[in-house]
Amino acid sequence: MNRRVLLAGLAAVALTGPAQAARPVELLNVSYDPTREMYRDYDALFAREWKARTGQTVRVRQSHGGSGKQARAVIDGLEADVVTLGLAYDIDEIAARAKLLPADWQTRLPNNSTPYYSTIVFLVRKGNPKRIRDWGDLIRSDVKVITPNPKTSGGARWNYLAAWGWARQTLGSDDKARDFVTKLYRNVPILDSGARGATTTFVQRRQGDVLITWENEGFLAQKAFGRGQFEVVAPSISIRAEPPVAVVDAVAKKKGTTKVAEAYLRGLYSPAAQALVARHGYRPVSAQALARSPVRFPAIRMLTIADFGGWSKAQAVHFANGGEFDRIFSAAKR
């Protein structure tokens, strides 16, 4: 599979490479927050490979921010050649509202256009003083939970769905899941607007006993803030958090960067890039890269967004105005 993708990429390059070789080209990759460090490395890797293959110099500029905010910027006219966002819903919105790419964009690259994925885990303080092992522990009255607001943070939507999914599987029904998630959010003392903000609240402000977070963000926090001060706890069931990638057709066509933009994204599936994403704490889709990864990824049973009927349904049921999440807070208030 991977080899075929790579060959297709190379073929595309071979067809168009020589004609463009002379002029340097520039790509704009509009991405979300935690990929900053990873794409800095990948951009250098891709530039080297592209130069070697075609002789053309490519410079990739990066833009990072909250996933939804980035999607809105593209809708409002930010000329992104490629988008690499936190959840498919945001790219769906670009397709639906600005018609910059076809609605079936997610079928164009392997694995739902997701070259790497992550999952939702818990970050706890050293020694796990509150003995937090699984989702069930998060609704205990002595536990304070830090998680951002799913209405303003894409990452927090994965957290919320993972909690809901565990409860539905373990307790047996949507009603019980609603009850569980309501209790969980009653244990949340601070609702940050973004994932990085929540990490800061937990790690630096020392608020709460457990942070629900992306696995890669958990690894990063472990590495960046005082070695051994935090531990990652893998719950029994989590969700496969897929941050997909897509070429923004209309923009790339206008700028004449379609071929290089496609090669840039296909390159993410190459062995070198797969090894690179694993080093940055993302789970690579290639089984080989996963096996050889220096980072140890615990085995977790993962639900997918399909278990929630896809993003547009999950969005409408849970996160829209008056949806489940809003009702949780109206209920909590009464």
Partner: protein, 267 residues
């Protein structure tokens, strides 16, 4: 009539239209796109009402505190002389210049239960971060220079000779302050208050870090607007903005009237 009056008036009106009225009417137009029921459901929901109460209440409280603190600081800066006065004076302007997010992060680090100030207050049971008190603290910080800088020139203009004259006529310190100084600076004080208040209502960057952002408790109205945008609900966002604009305009109008009244009395 002044020479060039028509020209300057025309320019002023045109400028205000382009810079203020045009963007504001865009807000109203967006809102008109949604039906009345939808408007009520979004902009007048229980949660939105709680957010308005917090935003306007905290801005009002911070404005009142700044009114007193600002007057005192201005008085000290004008009437006294001490080494390092210029430095202190420059310090007052800092909240103007500091990116609000930096202010928010600094204040949170200070007042969070593990921060240097928060740790002192925690055993006594006082929490100033991640609740409405945190919002007020952030707004006091960003609002202070507005009061100091509007009152300062008026106090300087007033001169200490008037206070001395009052005193030589037998007025006590308190009488001098209440009968002589206060009436003269009241219009400026109200202006400073209005500016600090208006800034506080719209403030987002510094508040978001220290507020805790819990719906119904410590969620400010500007955050609710951002939440709507996150759902690609532009009409909902402008609906909340419209309500905020109307309340702000009404309150600023009242302050302006009070000011005119004070000026007539004091003048």
């Amino acid at each position: 009539m002044l020479p060039g009056f028509g020209l300057t008036l025309g320019f002023s009106v045109a400028w205000l239209t382009i810079i203020i009225l045009l963007p504001l009417s865009a807000v109203f137009l967006r809102t008109l796109g949604m039906g009345w029921d939808q408007f009520v459901a979004t902009a007048l929901s229980e949660r939105a009402l709680a957010a308005y109460r917090l935003s306007f209440g905290a801005a009002l409280a911070a404005g009142v505190i700044n009114l007193f603190a600002g007057l005192l600081v201005a008085w000290v800066l004008v009437r006294t002389d001490f080494p390092g006065k210029r430095l202190v004076s420059a310090l007052v302007d800092l909240p103007f210049a500091l990116p609000t997010a930096v202010a928010g992060i600094a204040l949170t680090a200070l007042y969070a239960p593990n921060g240097p100030v928060g740790a002192l207050l925690e055993p006594v049971g006082i929490e100033l971060a991640f609740n409405p008190a945190g919002v007020v603290i952030a707004l006091i910080f960003v609002g202070l220079p507005f009061v100091v800088r509007t009152v300062e020139p008026v106090l300087a203009d007033l001169g200490s000779d008037i206070e001395e004259a009052a005193e030589s006529l037998g007025a006590t310190k308190l009488q001098t302050f209440r009968r002589v100084v206060l009436p003269a600076v009241t219009p400026a004080l109200l202006t400073g208050f209005a500016l600090a208040f208006a800034r506080g209502v719209g403030e987002y960057g510094s508040v978001i870090f220290i507020a805790g952002n819990m719906p119904f408790v410590s969620e400010i109205a500007p955050l609710l607007i951002v939440t709507q945008l996150e759902e690609y609900d532009y009409a909902g966002a402008t609906a909340i903005a419209t309500v905020m604009l109307c309340i702000s305009f009404a309150l600023l109008l009242v302050i302006n009237l009070l000011q005119a009244l004070a000026r007539r009395r004091g003048g």
